[in-house]
Symmetry: C2
Subunit: 457 residues, 2 copies
Amino acid sequence: MAETKIPYKIYLSESEIPQKWYNVRADMKNKPAPLLNPGTHKPLTAEEMSGIFCSELVAQELDNETRFIEIPKEIQDFYKMYRPSPLVRAYCLEEKLQTPAKIYYKFEGNNTSGSHKLNSAIAQAYYAKKQGLKGVTTETGAGQWGTALSMACSYLGLDCKVYMVKVSYEQKPFRREVMRVYGASVTPSPSMETEIGRKINAEHPGTTGSLGCAISEAVEVAVKNPDYRYVLGSVLNQVLLHQSVIGLEAKAALDKYNVKPDIIIGCAGGGSNLGGLIAPFMGEKLRGEADYRIIAVEPASCPSFTRGKFAYDFCDTGMVCPLAKMYTLGSDFIPSANHAGGLRYHGMSPVLSQLYADGLMEAVAVEQTKVFEAAEEFARVEGILPAPESSHAIRAAIDEALKCKETGEEKTILFGLTGTGYFDMTAYESYHEGRMNDYIPTDEELASYAAKLPKID
Amino acid sequence: MAETKIPYKIYLSESEIPQKWYNVRADMKNKPAPLLNPGTHKPLTAEEMSGIFCSELVAQELDNETRFIEIPKEIQDFYKMYRPSPLVRAYCLEEKLQTPAKIYYKFEGNNTSGSHKLNSAIAQAYYAKKQGLKGVTTETGAGQWGTALSMACSYLGLDCKVYMVKVSYEQKPFRREVMRVYGASVTPSPSMETEIGRKINAEHPGTTGSLGCAISEAVEVAVKNPDYRYVLGSVLNQVLLHQSVIGLEAKAALDKYNVKPDIIIGCAGGGSNLGGLIAPFMGEKLRGEADYRIIAVEPASCPSFTRGKFAYDFCDTGMVCPLAKMYTLGSDFIPSANHAGGLRYHGMSPVLSQLYADGLMEAVAVEQTKVFEAAEEFARVEGILPAPESSHAIRAAIDEALKCKETGEEKTILFGLTGTGYFDMTAYESYHEGRMNDYIPTDEELASYAAKLPKID
């Protein structure tokens, strides 16, 4: 096992951390559709956006042309605290599976936020700071994004207001506590601090909240306070841009050993990790320089790629945010309460949606018991305890490796291991106790949500 | 901040992972005192030990002469999964403190066990496997050691029986669940599975257990079952030997940049991390090749070095284990229930005890509110969320750096960051809520425990 030329972990040196983000939109023939103003249904202008987002981020959001965007030195410095992240050769997993496939994973969980979310959090916080703002607002469900943003804000001395879905706030006190370590204010949503929160509390006494409601509260606070802006951890073009560091590093590490992946696999909720991981590979594919099979993995209980519509839809359940053209299940679709495996967003990044619509990538949906089975198999041989979200990619990677075992093909598989599962032990517990089952929405259910999609010409 | 020759993180390459452990005892003029048979008070023979420990580990426990001991290839392979661990230059902390001191820390938390414990767990599990045993037994309190051992056993296909203090089992269900991911059986102690467990349950109905009782159960199961042995995560000579990889890597990384620490700081409970971190530096000191200030940091609520006696004592509360000569507070000393900061062991590694008695190292005791203050200060600038145990070392490192600020001295400080605090958020919460206070045992209390120390000539 050790007599190989490729080490278990390929680390880049500090000087090899990317100094530019790669903007895959520059190489896309069909650009992602623009965000629309929810009132007028016309493309959102930079001016309209700048009340919600920082100016520099608005520019990045709208920039479909610039191929490489300089990473400011301050962000590079922050990256040095936890990057480059390791690219791991999964020797032990390969041996366990007895597969001729060569499996690599890019591990983004080696930081306190426990996921790749920090890559964009620091960028968004930095531009807010640069613009002279006092702070940022955001929502968080399970808390990975909220933690990442708290860390970034604490580093830059920026105020961070997190609206956390009430049920998560109560059931995940540890995540909340981590955010407090980093000085964030964490408010259970719906709160009595905002108009929309008071309205929802009045209409639904005792509600335990939803991500859509938390978004609405965070946006309201940002819009009403000129010193604050709203930030978001996925879906947006700017987020995929920042996350391109994942793919750039992965590619640089593989290039060192002249390894070319045949298959690239990532889990997909809003698409931030997958979009980042595949960026430079997709770029080569778009420019006709190389070919890769690229697979998005989503939960069978929230199957936006595989069973959703490619249409304009609201980004939030509250329907106050802009409309995005994306694969969507409908903005009020919420996966079954039994679903523990993350990736609960009803829509998908417009960039990835366009690439998928253009046949440049594939998608599979997997059931959560199979996901946790893969997670545990992986943990026992590779050591790392994966997040449920990341384990979707593990499931698909194992499945592809087992196909190679059948055919005898020595394919090279690269997958994104987005994070660790330390705060997801209740989900593991329900798996161990046999309480976890697989809920797959029926065609009728999905059709009823799809029927409510906004009609946009 | 970035225009420096020394990177944020100094990683060694895979081929630079130590291939031998360093046995500091070989360089000690005054060897650590031998373990004694609790019945006869005579030095424990290899034969007596081999009913409890694997033969190879018995040999390592008794070997005071061999300076370097080969690390078996299988263990080296496992180390490659999570080592080398980074040596980090704490640029952000230095800037925050505005100190001329140069601060480095060796971070051992980048693995799923969340601490350095894995370094010895894999070694102990390996030798058990090699001896053809079916499994190992152990006890765990907070669960770091139990998690590390579960991971090692899962990797090697060895059965792992963990006796977890009942109160922790109930209050820390997530740790228990992590161990289950790795296939360990986790039993709340006292259980009804062992004689001692049934006895304690009968005598103290409703007891929530203690570490001492869990040790007794784990030892009983190992001794009664010839296919099992008992393993321990700290205190023993063999554990310090395995943990020398920490110091060897740290020294190799510093040597690359010709950096020589003036002060080396580690937290000390049973001494496994501190003993490992300082090993090669202490070796130089013992051989007269270099000098270092070495500081052990312990909780003021469990101050074995600073207020304990250097005497023979039982290693467990149940007084069934061998006697060790060490700094001890008495085997039935238990720190205040209010104490959240780990490092609760009543005694201390015999190796470190001897070195301390010989004036080769110093010790300080710190109060837990000061420890959590340091933890939070560190987290906010360095990103990593430290374990309470590790934060004792952070506290002392910050204090030394602040002294440098006063005097203007540019000292180089190296400290051990043993692990992460993801499973310690209730302790952080009590700190945030102002419920944490400092309990320091009185002289009278300590004297009453000391009076009960066994009388050994």
